[in-house]
Amino acid sequence: MDIMRFLPTLLDGAWITVQITVLAILLALFMGFVSGLMRLSGVWAVRAVASVYIEIFRGTSALVQLFWMFFVLPFFGISLDPFTVGWIALGLNVGAYGGEVVRGAIQAVPRGQYEASIALNMSKWLAMRRIIVPQALPAMVPPWGNLFIELLKATALVSLITISDLTFRAKQLNDQTFQTVEIFTLVLFLYLAIALVITGVMRIVERWTGRGLARGGIK
């Protein structure tokens, strides 16, 4: 019995999974940084908008968000194809967690760094960009890495809105052949392989963001 005959179909699915993961990660990073920085704004309304976003997307399940965007949005005249709904819903969901990661890491930068920036007459934006965020990045990388792995696993949900991702293909093959053990073992390893790539990339990013700070260690 050659289990490798399932591989081409599963790899097709894995490719969809990878595409959705990458697009959702990019959206999550964007939403995470925007909402995290907005939570730190001096303007009440700006903070409020970010809080509403973060609470809604953390407080409801990714599956419900996916279904809502796929089945409910059309009633408001917005019909998106399943693939687009898939990565946008997951990106928004993970971005909400990312917002808290960004905010936490930025708040952990010592107060003296803000004060030194003011003593150099920097604008708030310049201080964020040049002084605060570069020091906050190394602390953000590991939690972002965890979120990306969670995101990868959550992509299995998109099979429920008719996207032929890895999980969708696996179920399809299983229904046709009933080779359950072979198929799902293969699927397991494929997900693991993608997760290991994410972990590896995050290691590199971690080393890269820590470059300046690591020299001689922080006292």
Binding site: P110, G112, Q113, E115, A116, I118, A119, L120, N121, M122, S123, K124, L126, R130, I131, P134, Q135, G212, L213, R215, G216, G217, I218, K219
Partner: protein, 256 residues
């Protein structure tokens, strides 16, 4: 007296229940070297932090070169300053902190050129040339490529002084800049400050516990307690022949 470069007018400041300053008045002349002494919690840091806009006054106005700092004129009335006004007036001032607060992700020279390039809009080559001069002046020409974590406390503080000076301020604030240093490193930092005082046309306000340095360096010493000026005058008078009994008690306690 010529126009003061800094004027505190009726300034009050409290933190919750704690009143740190009440109706505080102080004029500082251009180029003056002013030492501020007083017991812990008397409001010395608050005085500097108000002037650096790290704190907002609850009442009164602080003027820098005749312009209100935390306020601006609008239809003949003083209202809260917007960011633009704040940054314009704040450009005259820079500050050195007790704990240095160097940027750890930048080298020594990176710290010094950061403000000139990104805030003053100076060309990189020019900023580097000036930073090298400044680091040379504080005796750190050979350390320009080092990161703060590779420098001693005294060296870090001298980089911080060069960084503040690179902003070409008219007024420089020093908040107990030698208090966090091992005793053997205090001298090198005080020497750097002496040199700046000699070589530059710059107003300096120093909060310090180094009474000997204050006496020799400052044009005027003010002793504050409870957010009020209790006694002021030339160092030789305030520190050697204090008239107020609270000044006397404080100096007895510090000098032992």
């Amino acid at each position: 007296m010529s126009e003061p470069i800094v004027r505190f007018e009726n300034v009050s400041k409290r933190f919750g229940e704690t009143v740190v300053m009440r109706d505080f008045d102080l004029d500082i002349a251009p180029n003056e070297k002013l030492a501020v002494i007083g017991p812990s919690g008397s409001g010395k840091s608050t005085l500097l932090r108000l002037l650096m806009t790290l704190e907002q006054p609850d009442g009164g106005v602080i003027y820098v070169k005749g312009e209100p700092l935390h306020h601006m004129w609008k239809n003949g009335r003083l209202v809260s300053a917007d960011q633009k006004h704040l940054r314009k007036v704040r450009s005259h001032i820079s500050m050195v902190f007790q704990h240095f607060h160097l940027f750890p992700h930048m080298t020594a020279i990176g710290n010094v050129i950061e403000g000139p390039i990104h805030v003053l809009g100076m060309k990189r080559a020019e900023a580097v040339a000036r930073a090298e001069e400044l680091l040379d002046m504080v005796g750190l020409a050979d350390k320009k490529g080092s990161h703060p974590s590779q420098l001693s406390g005294g060296q870090q503080q001298r980089v911080a002084i060069a960084r503040a000076l690179a902003m070409q301020p008219d007024v420089m604030l020093f908040d107990e800049v030698t208090s966090a240093l091992d005793p053997e490193l205090v001298g090198e930092v005080l020497n750097a400050i002496r040199k700046i005082g000699r070589e530059q046309d710059i107003t300096m306000i120093l909060v310090t516990h180094e009474m000997g340095f204050a006496k020799e360096f400052a044009d005027r010493v003010i002793f504050i307690e409870g957010g009020r000026i209790v006694e002021q005058g030339p160092g030789a008078q305030v520190l050697s022949e204090p008239r107020n009994e609270r000044t006397q008690a404080f100096l007895r306690a510090v000098l032992g």
